[in-house]
Symmetry: C3
Subunit: 309 residues, 3 copies
């Protein structure tokens, strides 16, 4: 029986390095399968999605993933505009959705929501983003992209740039990276620095530096992971504009980077990466989105097939 | 040719006891089939849904049902937020939806809407709730649940609790029950009593009592069917709060119930049934939701396959 | 390799008469195939839709089309209510959607949007309506309907009635018709006359007249193509009501028409065609909607299969 069969996917912290490698191997397998063989993996299986925060990107990635392996999807893409918003409890909604499907994908603003959902659900629950820290399938997608594009994770110097305070993606990625031997450089405006309490455990496992200056380490990085800086986070717009401008990855900055460095971004992007970067060999963020479909397909395949696929 | 082939499902009143039994038999068949065989039943068929009132629950039940038997679905989940709301007539919208699919599922606030739709549609129409009285697939789901869980319907004492005035579910269930030899106890606040004109015909066929006190018959009931009491129905909130509290099914009330009695609810639930009831053997409302998927799959399979399945 | 394989469908102007005939032949083929064989044409393929203007009708037509040939669909039906509306560029959204699917269907208010999308997309883009002039799949549907119902297009006298100024459907249809030897009569209120600059090229190829009086040519027409007159287009309601009334196709007008003339409408209809016309042999607008499903299925099949189907 594979490790993931009939199990929930709640937190990136629940996985070992070996388990990541298993997921990566299965993702490679999916990439290499012809479409018809892929569609046998979860033929006729139904994924339900339940989004308490709208996220078109993540929902469609899961829909595309289950579709690529032969299943289909149904659900609630924005519960605030749904009749379910008649005051029904999360527990009841989750119970019903798990009756209607083989696996349930949940996005919810509260920490702990997915773990709670997993307890009441009769089917495996996959956390598609919850609270301030957890977005495990995004972290797996990011780790796979690094591994695939750099042929390794150990030994890499990885910069993470932008809003490190509010982005749950960053915390999940750091947790995932803490299973590897990497140097992490965190680069953010002062007001958007990482929340130290949230990385207390991670700090014990990997070394990292913090900086407000993107140019400080730029020539040393193998991977730059860029995140969106959201206007709403700033008390006044002037402050925002000042910060925004100083973290844009453009062709000028690219020239200071290592020849074989790569740029990642969880997307959607606003201005953090200039459009003319897209055509350079460094740009891997669209590739990353494609890998996201395949890593999710691998996770679904493992969750729904006792002996893998 | 089976009785249901290519026929509309408009009103629970259109069916005989024998026809209910046929549906129940096919539902059992679906429950017992392996998933791959189930998916042959309506392989490649398309269900369209057209909801003039949003009802995520009912829509997803139909989507899950057609998916489980190999078909797929498309449609309009909330017509008020749809471009179809450019003033197009119901007739035109129905005609188009029936071109796009093999069977059309309609929810509409007006009595008679489904019958009208059936007249203009080139494909069978299934009423997913209309007007004040009709929700035939819910009633079939409810009858099947009673039969399945109590092994019979004849001879049972059935309490129906809550808002009996406005809930279309209740009227459809009563119509369905009138084909059987049952005692019905209606329990509601004075202001939410059943509309007597709506049950004129039913009254001729089954005996029932009315009461405002839930405890009066509680120790005698085999089935308690609980419905939501909606705040909007009360002119002032104080009145609502008083009523609400007195109809909650909790563990204390459970102790007064028969050992083998069951509790049903069409869901979603608010506070009508306490959460700690869920784990008792009496609680069958989630089971009822699952049977709903299967009864709908059976109805779709019968409607779309000339010789049954 | 077929002409359409892996190609975008952007503008009706890009096609020759021979190419229309190819599409018509494949559409006939789809109509004549049994459902199981149809479902082999795009088995397991995924269509994504991206609608910057809501259009339930067009979206469902594409969903029904891909479903009928064995594929499935996912996407964003109204981007204004989507999280993608976080300010992400059209280019980025298109790139992502093309990762998630085999073909991308785009509706967008701006001229040129589809051509731009096609440049950045890694998969074929189908224009489902853009800007003021282009709706190529609607025009193909319309041409096929004329051909199918009249057995030819050359030599026909075709009236186009209603709002000729703002409807993109009309411009695409005229472009399509300019490949045939037809007489076109344009009939509209003075304020909704065709934009002459938009038909500059078309004018060189087909003869047409303009008129405000629907009765002038009515007895001579083989095809009447009716479009909606939208209230919003008029500065005052009185003007609108006057105009509206004078362009209604009713049974009285029908009596003046040729025995074998047909009435088309892109739908949805408001009052432009009286309901009692629906049952006459002239009414072909619902047939036209059905052909729309089949022409779209043919286009998808050609786009996604190297050697046709």
């Amino acid at each position: 029986m594979n490790d993931f069969y009939n199990k929930d996917i709640i937190s990136i912290k629940d996985y070992t390095r070996d388990q990541f490698e298993t997921i990566f191997d299965y993702t490679e397998k999916i990439i290499n399968l012809d479409p018809a063989s892929r569609r046998e993996i979860c033929k006729g299986k139904t994924l339900s999605y339940l989004f308490y925060e709208p996220s078109t990107r993540t929902r469609l990635s899961f829909e595309a993933a289950i579709s690529s392996i032969g299943g289909n999807s149904l659900g609630i893409s924005d519960i605030s505009s749904s009749s379910t918003q008649k005051g029904e409890s999360l527990a009841d909604t989750v119970k019903i959705m798990s009756i209607y499907s083989d696996v349930l994908v949940l996005r919810h603003p509260l920490d702990g929501s997915s773990r709670f959902a997993a307890e009441v659900s009769s089917k495996p629950v996959i956390n598609a983003g919850s609270g301030t820290e957890e977005h495990p399938t995004q972290a797996i997608q990011d780790l796979f992209t690094i591994k695939k594009e750099k042929k390794k994770i150990d030994g890499l110097k990885i910069g993470i740039v932008g809003d490190l305070k509010y982005g749950r993606t960053v915390y999940s990625l750091l947790s995932g990276l803490s299973n590897y031997d990497v140097d992490v450089h965190l680069i953010s405006p002062e007001s958007l620095r990482i929340r130290t309490d949230s990385i207390y455990e991670i700090k014990k496992k990997i070394s990292f530096t913090e900086s407000t200056d993107i140019e400080e380490y730029i020539d040393d990085l193998d991977v730059i992971y860029v995140t969106r800086i959201q206007k709403e986070r700033f008390p006044d717009e002037e402050e925002y504009l000042k910060v925004k401008g100083s973290y844009v990855i453009g062709l000028d900055l690219l020239q200071k980077m290592k020849e074989d460095s790569i740029i990642l971004h969880p997307l959607p992007r606003l201005d953090e990466i200039a459009n003319d970067v897209d055509k350079t060999k460094h740009a891997k963020y669209f590739q990353q989105a494609e890998y996201g479909k395949h890593t999710r397909a691998a996770l679904l395949g493992l969750t729904l097939n006792e002996n893998g696929f």
